[in-house]
Symmetry: C2
Subunit: 249 residues, 2 copies
Amino acid sequence: MRDHELPEVRRLPLFRNMLAENFESLMRASYAQTFPAQLEMVRQGDPADLLHIVVEGAVELFSEWNGHQSTMAVVRPVGSFILAACIKDQPYLMSARTMARTRIILVPASDIRSVFRRDMEFAVSCMNELAGCYRAVVRHAKALKLRNSHERIAAYLYRQSRYAGDVATFTLTVEKRLLASYLGMTAENLSRALKALEADGVKVDGSRVIITDREKLKAIARPDYLIDGPDWDGSTSGVALPFPRNEEG
Amino acid sequence: MRDHELPEVRRLPLFRNMLAENFESLMRASYAQTFPAQLEMVRQGDPADLLHIVVEGAVELFSEWNGHQSTMAVVRPVGSFILAACIKDQPYLMSARTMARTRIILVPASDIRSVFRRDMEFAVSCMNELAGCYRAVVRHAKALKLRNSHERIAAYLYRQSRYAGDVATFTLTVEKRLLASYLGMTAENLSRALKALEADGVKVDGSRVIITDREKLKAIARPDYLIDGPDWDGSTSGVALPFPRNEEG
DNA sequence: CTCTCAGTTTGATATTTATCAATTCAAATT
DNA sequence: AATTTGAATTGATAAATATCAAACTGAGAG
């Protein structure tokens, strides 16, 4: 593992409150690995041996059934996945593949489980992380069940704009087909819906998004604190698409 | 609180491993209350002051947006909800209403938080509960995104039959409109789909379900361990519809 | 026993969403 | 600059799902 990586991992909400001694012991049991792009590193159904921490690159979490795939989340540095399976010692429910060349730290699940039993702060951090993940998926499920595709897209774009600092212009952080899959629709549907939304205050040109009428977009999106968040205390990783960067900063 | 209730609550996976002393202290801070049927006890967005434990009756967890509602889960005795909001000290993401006259034990969230900090076994139980809830919602989201309505229904019926002990006949545990909402479709769609499924090995008459051709139904449902579970260690409450009772037992 | 009422089913229709095929586009490579 | 390749878009169509209204049903109330 590289020198600069350890402090970064230590800064993760999951690890920042635990005793230094326990953190070090966890990290001694861990190892880092770099994967090329488009590699399926974890297959759904695999035993949950290792907690994964993304240090560089990006990872898509997706699930598969009957030949279809669906994107469930994207994890970027420095985020972790998938804690729940490690804690329960159960198989992964989702697969993971790199979206680019990606560096991962792998922490043995058994060490996770033994360390949180002797470090209350770590246990509390795990709980917060899990509770955050749970709430994020509940939000995702709510969006899928309560909104139609136009509304989901509008809400997504509105939220991205908000989180980038209420900017009028930003860039999509992921490919459209991945976004479509995350939002629970086909790429064709997303494409057509984006065009239709031009009448509702948002113009998308390639990966560039321009909000022409914030209020109109908001009227379609009807953003809701209990669906679109944030619970945002920075502790929740691996459960939603990443925020866009403010283009001015 | 009634005499027989305490041991029942104590038997919950969430509470069964903690120190007796801490359990008693938690329970001293708690109180029980009986609600009539069809009462909205928790409204989404409310501050999470209290962990709820269902002792008698049944509770529907649902969410609401823009005038639409969607059932997210049903909690039966002795199950708890909603731990995640209490742990994070964040507002509830879902509303809760009684489906029948229901008795609930209410545990102050602040006591939950302070007790798990001094009782590692309780902390571990909370973690297991949360991880289980997380995985259950991930499964729900996977089903919604990967299966169409016929497949979701078929999988639901197949699973209910399995959990009742591979019986050919069982009774639906919830109203059809609630089931429809849980499965992410309209009641009309459910009704028509059930009729269509008669060609695929299952007959539904009122609330009675008769599986006429298990293999045919299975072929439609394509049950999948990573969607339909179980993770079943009994520790997960409040995250899925209840199992049917085997009619022979 | 009849009445009432909520839940369910059915029918007709509209809307939403998916599918498949054909282009277009844009970035990366030769 | 030309070529290649995967992504994105567009068009035509089909399938899935929702909506609205009406009729039906069965369990509980009077």
